[in-house]
Symmetry: C3
């Protein structure tokens, strides 16, 4: 068949198309600009002084305001979708995500993924693909590194799978693996401008914080966001098809919920502007336009990193159409109520009292 | 109680928390960028050549296109919300607003407020707080200065109030207090590019202008705008809570209506790209998504400022779901019809015929 | 009548106001920024590497990522609306559009139109106005040149029309008239980063490509877009008026559909990042918020331009609420089904195998 005779539109890889150790360089490198930052602010209302103000960022040792870590995550993630998850049934998890070099407006991000695990499901209809994705800047420095696994449809149930393997993944990123920008000194910050008088020593393991506020999701917003990330997962955009599907609705990109929860978490965590690592995450239930997102956090662990900085390991849960004053989460058996939508385990950087 | 045992989320000040002469430095300094300008254009469709074109701005003596005055206002205003009006019942008024140094992309805005008035209401449930807010740039220059007063709930009706005072506020900003950028010469502009052949001398006191066009408000739009300003007032964002409230709807931020009316007013006032001062303003009725905004203006006063420039004092009224050909406004008793939503008194700069 | 006594708001030109050879310099020059580019990405999700990445653009010989050609088109087009089509009944067609100098963030666009044709309709209620519009940058270089014709209402059916003429327009822009940036060498690109392994030689005349994906349109999105372009056509914005009109709905700007179709066409045409020319276009049916847009393309013609580059002439059709696997289009009599909304004939640049 000549190239011209085949349909040139990409329909994505199926489970049997992946091979262990396969490396995929993803399309569309992306220069991140002040325009992306502004739209991200308009979408989530982030108020961390470090990302909002060049002057503030300089006052704590950076050359200017870095791009929000989750915007970097979403852009890198978006690049992987056409190659990894266009035929995904479910996004199962994240692990070992580390935010390394800060990203500044003008930097160009590119992404590469390596298949590190494959496991066919017993029904032979689907399998789980594990990829380690690396985001780099235009100097080839790694800005982000993470593992994601996803359940992908088979094109042909009868197709044989060459080699399978389930990777061992760390339960959490260890503090010795954090990348704190060497020139950064959050301890030198003006706490009034940052918006909080709470530093590392004021947070205790087991402490719970209700972030109080809620944010309703609109179709135009989650689609603007998801397109900004050049994420092409079809379930977010096509009401004509989704209207006939399982939910009768477009699904909101899970990353949109992560960013909403992170935005809400400013209220209680204003001094924690940088995500160091994501240990794991689960989208417990789907979110649709019209849902209102609330969030709460629990301090899981703390780690002093230097005289200036500490790290707090947080678990942030988000709900739909439910306030978080009673800290809703999974029951003893690990089952989530229908209105809990996110359970994210991550580390943030915070200044110490000096 | 240890710091860790208390909920770290901010729930805002109540009336009895304020003190006369108290100064509050607000959180989250904000670098304004070309990204903010673009999103602002997308939200309101502004067409003033001065703010749209670096080339045009240079042709009239500025180093580049300044940021729209109302975008500056909204960003400065947004910073004050967590400290001043999170527990507000109503935003009562503005006065003595002066736009001083122009703001350019790359400038960082910060805000400080001083409590200049306090007056408890006779019901002891609420009180009125008057603040003077100053917005500054990264060089410490004042870009904006205004007074706002707001009715704030008491936490405890029995709480005593230390000292009360109602400030005397000017009915209008006087022309001698205007700040016109010294290098600016709008009289040198190309009127075709600016979009109008009407200059200072063509406007007469008492003249009324119907701005003709209408703009329908969507939930996604007013929320994008209000988050862009990092304004955290809860009534704009949380349908889950507001759905059970007085209106059953999210309220649109009053400043969104000011910007819509200003955008519409280009049609008739294209040669008045700079706001010099806001003398007062009233949000006469609430606006909800789905409402269509129209606007009209009346010339209240004119003042020649120099050989190049004059100032026109305007009163711009906006309506919801009502055209403005009949110039709707308050009745003789000062009562507003239900469909008038804004009554704004302000000064604009305009070139003279030379 | 003194200037002050007349309403200063513009209500647009009527058919009898136009004169053959009349030249109109349109208002509001516009500096295009990285902010506009980001919002454009958020609206359409474009993934062409050339426009997304400064690093990629440099790797193929440009100084940085150029602004998407259609964003340039929409901005130039928007400027013409207040002068040309505020009283239009229908936008009838485009022809002879050539994209000449690339536009980069920071460039300032201005637009001028010349009336090249006038033809009154036999009912004397309307007439067709043909204009040639030129968009220029701040150095006076032409970035875009196109012909558009539009049916415009008469103010007064009895008004006489001075001179009429229907211009002869080319059925297609000829390859010798294309402007390829001299330093550009797409053949040097990394096809993995561009997202396609198909180059010029792989496309055959008559080949049809289903772009597979669909995108649902929201009110907030098309209004954000149309305001970003400073396009003031009233039918897009005013539900209060349109709700009582022919459709009972706001109409989506036709250019929004062109950009959506172009965004979708990446899937199958990823190596064709630059539009060289638009030969003609038809908005076959109106689109409203809630409609889902799909698209397909047919290769009409191919032309080798140099050792590095070829051009492909495409016809891209878009539908509402209908998939394009069966390549829907007009019937033999040229009549379009109700769900076909766009039929666009244009040339794109594509690298050759070298």
């Amino acid at each position: 068949m000549s190239k011209a005779a085949s349909n040139k539109a990409i329909t994505g890889n199926f489970f049997e198309d992946f091979r262990l150790s396969q490396e995929v360089r993803h399309a569309t490198p992306r220069t991140v600009t002040a325009g992306d930052v502004a739209l991200y602010t308009g979408l989530y209302g982030g108020r961390f002084a470090l990302q909002s103000s060049d002057a503030f960022a300089k006052s704590v040792g950076l050359p200017g305001a870095p791009v929000d870590d989750l915007l970097v995550f979403h852009i890198v993630f978006g690049k992987t979708v056409p190659d990894v998850s266009l035929n995904a049934v479910a996004n199962l998890g994240y692990a070992e995500a580390r935010f390394i070099a800060p990203v500044y407006p003008g930097d160009t991000l590119a992404a590469t993924s390596t298949v590190i695990g494959l496991k066919e499901n017993s029904n032979k209809q689907t399998g789980v693909v594990y990829v380690r994705t690396t985001g780099t800047n235009q100097r080839g420095e790694t800005v982000l590194d993470y593992v994601r696994w996803v359940m992908v449809r088979k094109r042909d149930a009868a197709a044989a799978i060459a080699a399978e393997e389930v990777p061992k993944l760390a339960a959490r990123v260890a503090p010795e693996d954090f990348a704190v920008p060497p020139s950064l000194d959050l301890a030198a910050q003006d706490d009034r401008l940052a918006g909080s008088s709470y530093r590392f020593e004021d947070y205790a393991v087991g402490e719970k914080i209700d972030h109080v506020d809620g944010m309703t999701v609109e179709e135009a917003e989650h689609m603007l966001a998801t397109r900004l990330y050049q994420n092409t997962a079809r379930v977010h955009f096509n009401q004509f098809v989704e209207g006939k599907g399982r939910f009768g609705r477009r699904l909101v990109y899970g990353g949109h919920i992560i960013s909403l929860a992170r935005g809400l978490s400013f209220n209680g965590l204003a001094n924690a502007p940088r995500i160091l690592a994501i240990n794991g995450g689960r989208h417990a239930n789907p979110v649709f336009a019209g849902n209102t997102i609330h969030a709460w956090s629990e301090v899981l662990e703390t780690a002093a990193l230097s005289a200036r900085h500490g790290a707090i390991r947080l678990r942030t849960l988000a709900t739909k159409d439910r306030a978080c004053a009673d800290f809703p989460g999974p029951d003893a058996a690990g089952k989530y109520p229908d209105d809990v939508v996110l359970d994210l385990d991550y580390w943030v950087l915070i200044p110490r009292w000096v």
